[in-house]
C-alpha cells in the first residue's frame, strides 16, 4: 500500500480525475471549489492535458459539450451559482447523450447567497436544474477518500450509460484535508465510443451530436430510449451505506458532510440507549429507495438531516411510502447543524414514540 497523503477534497477530485484518464478540464473559478481548478491548472500542462479557464461558466460547459462529443473524458467544476449558469449546457449534454463529469461544491443560496457549505442544491442536482426530461447520476461523497473512488466511478458510469454524472459536495468537503491514498481507485473502463465525432476517415457515415429534434415523434423516441436507460440505472446503481437499521426505532438519514455530523449525534444517543440506525445515500440520483422501503417495514420513524430547508426529505417520503412518519431537521445558508442539535432532534422524536 502506498503512503497516505493529506489532500483537500477539491484537490483529491482533481487527482482522481487525472488518474481516471481525464485530460480535459474547463472551468471558471468560484469559492469554495477553486482549489480544484487550481490543481488542474498546475497538473494538466505537465501530462499533456488541457486546462482552460473559460470566460464564463456558460462557455466552460459548452467546451465540455464539445470535448465530450469528441469522446474525451472531460470534467468541469463550479459551485451553486455557477451550476445555475451551466444548467442550459448540462441539459444539452444530457439531450445529446454525452458522458462527462460535473463537480458541484455547493454553497449557500439562493442568488449569490454566501460561500459557506450548504446542501440547498439537492433539487437542482437531482430533479433537473436545466430543462427537459433528463437526469444526472449524482454521487455524494462524505470523505476525501470516498471522493477519490467516486470520481473514478463517475467517469466510468458516465461512459457506461452515456449520461452526465455530477459529484455533489459542499464547501466543507472541498476545503477539508484528510489522509488519502490512491491504491483503490477503480480502473477506468474502456467503452467503444463509436458515436464520437472524431473524423470519418472517409470510411463511415458522419456521426452527429445533437439535441434538436423538430419532429415530436422523433424527439419522444429519443426521450423514451433515454428513459429506458434511466430505468436500468435506477435498478442497478442505487448506492448507500447503512448501519444498525435492523432493530432501529428511528432511522436518521443524511448525505455528504451532514452525514458525519449525524454519525457524531447517533453515537451519543445510542450510548443513551436509543435504538437509532443510519442510512447514508451515496447516490442521490438514483435515490436508494430500496433500502428505505425495506427499513420502513420495521422502523417507527425517519429523520432527514440536511443543510437545506428540506429537499432530500421529499425523496425519503416517496421511498418510505407512508409506512412511517418522516421528520426533517435542517440548518441552511451556510450554517452547519451541530451534533448536539441533531441529537436533541432525535431525542424529541424518540420521546414522541413512547
Amino acid at each position: 500500500m502506498s503512503e497516505k497523503v493529506l489532500m483537500k477534497g477539491n484537490e483529491a477530485i482533481g487527482e482522481a480525475a487525472i488518474r481516471s484518464g481525464c485530460r480535459h478540464f474547463f472551468g471558471y473559478p468560484i469559492t469554495p471549489q477553486t482549489e480544484l481548478s487550481a490543481y488542474m491548472a498546475k497538473k494538466m500542462p505537465k501530462i499533456g492535458g488541457v486546462f482552460l479557464q473559460a470566460e464564463s461558466e456558460v462557455a466552460a460547459i459548452n467546451m465540455v459539450y464539445g470535448a465530450a462529443g469528441a469522446g474525451a473524458r472531460v470534467m468541469t467544476s463550479s459551485s451553486s451559482p455557477g451550476i445555475s449558469l451551466k444548467a442550459e449546457g448540462i441539459s444539452y449534454i444530457a439531450g445529446a447523450d454525452l458522458p462527462c463529469v460535473i463537480v458541484d461544491i455547493v454553497r449557500g443560496g439562493p442568488g449569490l447567497g454566501g460561500i459557506q457549505p450548504a446542501q440547498s442544491d439537492y433539487f437542482q442536482a437531482t430533479k433537473g436544474g436545466g430543462h427537459g426530461d433528463y437526469h444526472l447520476i449524482v454521487f455524494a461523497p462524505n470523505s476525501v477518500q470516498e471522493i477519490v473512488s467516486l470520481t473514478a466511478d463517475a467517469f466510468n458510469k458516465a461512459d457506461e450509460y452515456r449520461v452526465p454524472v455530477m459529484i455533489l459536495g459542499d464547501g466543507t468537503l472541498g476545503q477539508m484535508m484528510e489522509p488519502v491514498d490512491f491504491d483503490s481507485v477503480p480502473e477506468a473502463i474502456n467503452t467503444d465510443k463509436d458515436w464520437a465525432t472524431v473524423g470519418t476517415g472517409l470510411k463511415r457515415e458522419h456521426n452527429i451530436i445533437n439535441s434538436l429534434y423538430l419532429s415530436p415523434e422523433e424527439l419522444e423516441k429519443t426521450i423514451i430510449e433515454r428513459q429506458n436507460r434511466y430505468n436500468i440505472i435506477m435498478e442497478n446503481e442505487q448506492r448507500y451505506e447503512a448501519h444498525d437499521i435492523e432493530d432501529a426505532d428511528i432511522i436518521v438519514t443524511a448525505y455528504g458532510t451532514t452525514s458525519r455530523v449525524v454519525e457524531s449525534a447517533v453515537k451519543t444517543v445510542r450510548a443513551e440507549g436509543l435504538k437509532v440506525g443510519v442510512i447514508r445515500p451515496i447516490t442521490l440520483w438514483p435515490f436508494p429507495t430500496k433500502i428505505f422501503k425495506e427499513a420502513a417495514k420495521t422502523a417507527k420513524a425517519f429523520l432527514s438531516v440536511e443543510m437545506s430547508m428540506g429537499q432530500m426529505v421529499e425523496d425519503v417520503k416517496l421511498a418510505v411510502e407512508g409506512q412511517a412518519p418522516v421528520h426533517f431537521f435542517g440548518r441552511t445558508g451556510g450554517v452547519i447543524p451541530t451534533p448536539q442539535e441533531v441529537a436533541d432532534e432525535i431525542r424529541k422524536i424518540a420521546g414522541g414514540l413512547k
Binding site: T31, Q175, R260, S264, T338, P339
Partner: protein, 176 residues
C-alpha cells in the same frame, strides 16, 4: 482517544500552517485525522481558524463545537472560543497580544509570550511555532520528536532548510 483542537487568530499568523503541522504529525503517527480551515473573505489581519481532529477512531464530524484544546492567538478568538472548551480542557494563548486572562477556572491555562519571543528571536510571524511548542508542553498530544516528523512533511521540499528553523522555535516554546 480523540483530541479536538481549534487554532484561532488573525490571518497571517500561520494559523492554518500550525494546524497542518499537527495534521501531518498525526498522519505520520498513523492516527485518524481531519483538518478543516475557516475559509471565506480571509485576509491578513482578518480572523482565521482551523479545526484539527486527531483520533484513534475514524473522525465523524470534522467540525468542532467543543474543543478540548484551544490555541488562541488574538483577543477576538479567545472571546469567541473560550466558553466552548470542554471542562478539563486546555487553553493556550498568546500573552503578547491578549491583554486579559482566561476567565474559566475549570480548564488548564498556558499563557505564552509567543509573539514577543518570536519577534525578538526570529520574526513575529513565527509565533505560531512557539505556540506549538507550548502545546506539546501543556498536553500530551505529541512528543517533540513526533512533531519534527510532522514539520518535515508540512514544509515544502524546496524549503527543507526551514525545518530546523521551525523546530528551533517549537523547542523554544516547549522550554519556556
Amino acid at each position: 482517544m480523540t483530541d479536538n483542537i481549534i487554532i484561532a487568530g488573525f490571518g497571517g499568523q500561520g494559523i492554518l500552517f500550525a494546524g497542518k503541522i499537527l495534521a501531518y504529525t498525526a498522519l505520520v503517527k498513523g492516527k485518524q485525522l481531519s483538518w478543516l480551515p475557516s475559509y471565506g473573505p480571509e485576509m491578513r489581519g482578518g480572523t482565521a481558524n482551523c479545526h484539527v481532529i486527531i483520533s484513534d477512531e475514524p473522525v465523524a464530524s470534522p467540525i468542532i463545537t467543543e474543543p478540548n484544546i484551544l490555541i488562541s492567538m488574538n483577543k477576538p478568538s479567545l472571546e469567541k472560543f473560550e466558553n466552548t472548551v470542554v471542562s478539563g480542557g486546555t487553553i493556550i494563548y498568546d500573552k503578547s497580544l491578549i491583554d486579559r486572562e482566561v476567565e474559566r477556572d475549570d480548564v488548564k491555562v498556558a499563557a505564552v509570550e509567543a509573539t514577543g519571543i518570536a519577534t525578538a528571536e526570529a520574526k513575529a510571524n513565527m509565533a505560531n511555532m512557539i505556540m506549538l511548542g507550548a502545546l506539546i508542553k501543556a498536553t500530551n498530544v505529541f512528543t517533540l520528536d513526533e512533531i519534527r516528523a510532522g514539520v518535515e512533511k508540512a514544509v515544502p521540499p524546496t524549503k527543507k532548510d526551514l525545518v530546523d528553523y521551525n523546530m528551533k522555535l517549537i523547542e523554544r516554546g516547549y522550554n519556556l
